[in-house]
Subunit: 449 residues, 2 copies
């Protein structure tokens, strides 16, 4: 069995299959699993990169049936039953699980891809952190830049990510940077959250939405509902109503689309490019290929689609693994039923909303505690849990954030390249090492068609 | 008082002056202090970047007399008593302390600067980590690369850094990566430590040297003494005796030279470009300018020079601050006397050497424990100490290393630039933000004359 993607769905499927002694090859473009729900805390200097990233090989250290390959899947060879990997040998499969997740969706807004900062991978998060802190350092050396509004931070999108990151940025500024910068007027800094619809946190109840809006405004976020972004320029954001806001940093949290892997197979695709699947999560016309999680367009049984959440991916991964085991045992396939366990979003220190499956709705301190506990439990790896606990405890008690370093590990100007390989590979000009490096960061955008 | 450099010396001087209510401006090209003695553990995936980096502004959060400026000092305007900062307004000084430390010295070896990896800053360390892990991922996808010797790792320089990093790399490979890579023949990997002289750890006693050599060899490091590197090429290292070793990764730990700041003042310079100073650490001909730590060429009172160690910088920083306070009080200057507290170096798990000032020599487990304790104590910040403790405890008990992620926060292809500023600054083409970004990583080499 080959699994593409080491997110929540891919890991769950691999673990399940390994338990039943099935050989698995897991492929991901990163050598780590990213715990996306806490990514925004890396971007706002609350956590280390390695607190939310866990080495995939570490997960399967003692499970020797699971092989890992770092690489980018570029296509599927149906005749040979192989997945193609950029710059490396293809990998054969009997069964295939597509779990590559999603990517940032710019919805074709002019300039959005060029001038705004996505927040969907660890390199994204580090870039947001570096740029945000650099703007403060720049303003501190050149006070004229403050009048130029370099301390305006715009977050686009009022979903969970947008709410969480704008809350975290305003707290970083008000509680940490205000004390860091002794001779800079930090009160000139503004965080503006822009949402197209007339409400934040669309999928939540009205009560939770109102609470989130009130809390964000109380913390100092300038929330602008019913505002559509028409263009992102180098030094401002323009709105559909003709208005604009000068800014040097736009965080794009407006939406996601299926990973580009969804487009390589020639199967049916639904909204956001997601792969159309049947009730057993198999891809239409390819019974041996499953699509799970964000990349799959799954019917919710009520005329709608399942949301792109960690729980959907987790349950889908386990389900797809089970169907493969049933195939091997000669049993018929089942129908995937998603068990909604509820959703939560945090707004900031001691403030969150949580809506549980039973109908219970929590908000404020209790919801925030529930959010902390649940994320600690779902985090992969005991070391990461301890490290997150140390950082959270520290942040909570001291109003400090340790990892607020501006540090980027850029590749060397003339880094030794792997020039060995087959002539064919040399012609492509991409050894596996190059593939690995383009898979890490800005390359994502640079190589997108 | 203006202090250039937020290393051990700069921080010590700033703290001392702040205590006596003197206004200080501290300038560094990074926004963090780097705890250099543990840098090699970041490069070998043992620690997080933020464990050995501490935000400078965090150090002086409650000391409002100390201002910080992130920037690169490009020169001194003697008439105006100002230091010039790239892309920003100059800063006036009454007294100046130069504490910019040192940089990697390639000794003019052809190809060394282009093809080897220095290990002197946090970006350096992350680059070493990313490249080392990427080579293993590449070898795993393309087994032919193993025969090509992509798993040969060469460390140049048998001083403390070279010994520590080669010991840490071999442990990373043998204890961690061997279990990570299920179908790769990790025993093909080799770590080669090359030293020009006929001994490791030159400044240590013969007994300690012998122990270090024996321990490294026992761990599997191929130590080659009396071997001079003649050239570093893209895919091999050539030696002066005509031999060569194929490799895709050379870590350059052969030596350091004074930071380029040492060359901007027109004062006297000693070996390695270090600034010549008098017995009161003042720069020749400039009584109001002090040079301390690695950047200063300090007489040891016995015809030699003081070594470039953290203790020399720490004591020099305190001393220079004291002389400034004496100047203000109208008291005469004193003569700097270095109090040697001893040196230590770690070879790996449960193995280190320590030579204390009293003449006591420790080795093995005891020395290793002493090394751990001392580094925890000297580390800046309680959060960093806790985080290091969590990571060390984890590494020790599980033989695992958490932060072994290949992740680089590369700048965006079209990152918003700060185009505002004076026409003069625009002409230079370097706003403060750009300066900040080039100050972080590869730019160091790219812009060196």
């Amino acid at each position: 069995v080959v699994i593409v993607g080491a997110g929540f769905g891919g890991l769950a499927a691999a673990r399940r299959l390994d338990k039943q002694h099935v050989d698995v090859t897991l492929i991901d473009r990163h050598n780590y699993h990213t715990f996306l729900p806490l990514l925004y805390q890396v971007s706002t200097a609350g956590l280390n990169a390695a607190d939310v990233g866990y080495p995939v090989r570490g997960v399967f250290r003692k499970r020797r049936r699971v092989l890992f390959r770092q690489g980018r899947v570029t296509g599927i060879d149906w005749q040979g039953q192989q997945v193609r990997i950029e710059g490396a040998d293809p990998v054969s499969f009997d069964k295939l699980i597509l779990a590559a997740g999603s990517a940032t969706n710019y919805f074709g807004v002019p300039g959005a891809k060029e001038h705004s900062f996505p927040l969907y991978t660890l390199p994204d998060a580090l870039r947001v952190r570096n740029h945000l802190l650099s703007l403060f350092e720049a303003a501190d050396t050149r006070p004229d830049l403050v009048a130029d509004r370099v301390l305006n931070f715009v977050v686009v999108g009022g979903g969970a990510t947008g709410v969480e990151v704008s809350g975290a940025i305003v707290e970083l500024i008000e509680k940490v940077l205000r004390r860091d910068f002794h001779d800079l007027d930090v009160s000139a800094a503004r965080v503006i959250l822009v949402e197209r619809s007339d409400t934040l946190l669309g999928p939540f109840s009205q009560k939770s939405r109102d609470y989130a809006l009130a809390q964000l405004r109380k913390k100092g976020v300038d929330v602008r509902l019913g505002t559509t972004v028409a263009e992102v320029a180098e030094d401002c954001v323009r709105f559909a109503d003709g208005g604009s806001v000068p800014t040097r940093m736009v965080v794009w949290a407006a939406g996601i689309q299926a990973d580009r892997l969804a487009g390589v197979g020639g199967w049916g695709q639904g909204p956001g490019g997601r792969i159309t699947v049947g009730p057993d999560l198999a891809v239409e016309g390819h019974p041996d290929v499953f699509a799970i999680g964000d990349i799959a367009d799954i019917d919710n049984g009520a005329g709608g689609r399942l949301p792109q959440l960690a729980q959907v991916a987790l349950q889908g991964g386990k389900f797809a693994a089970k169907q493969i085991l049933r195939d091997l045992a000669g049993e018929p396939r089942q129908v995937f039923r998603y068990r909604d366990k509820g959703t939560m979003a945090t707004i900031g220190r001691r403030a969150a909303v949580a809506e549980l499956a039973g109908g219970a709705k929590l908000k404020g301190f209790i919801a925030w505690l529930a959010w902390l506990m649940l994320h600690l439990v779902y985090l992969v790896g005991m070391r990461n849990r301890m490290s997150v606990l140390v950082n959270w405890g520290w942040n909570y008690l001291t109003w400090d954030r340790g990892p607020r370093l501006i540090v980027a590990a850029e590749p060397m100007p003339s880094r030794p390249q792997l020039t060995a390989g087959t002539p064919q590979e040399r012609a492509i000009g991409a050894g596996p090492e190059q593939a690995a490096s383009t898979a890490t960061a800005a390359g994502d955008e640079a190589t997108e068609p």
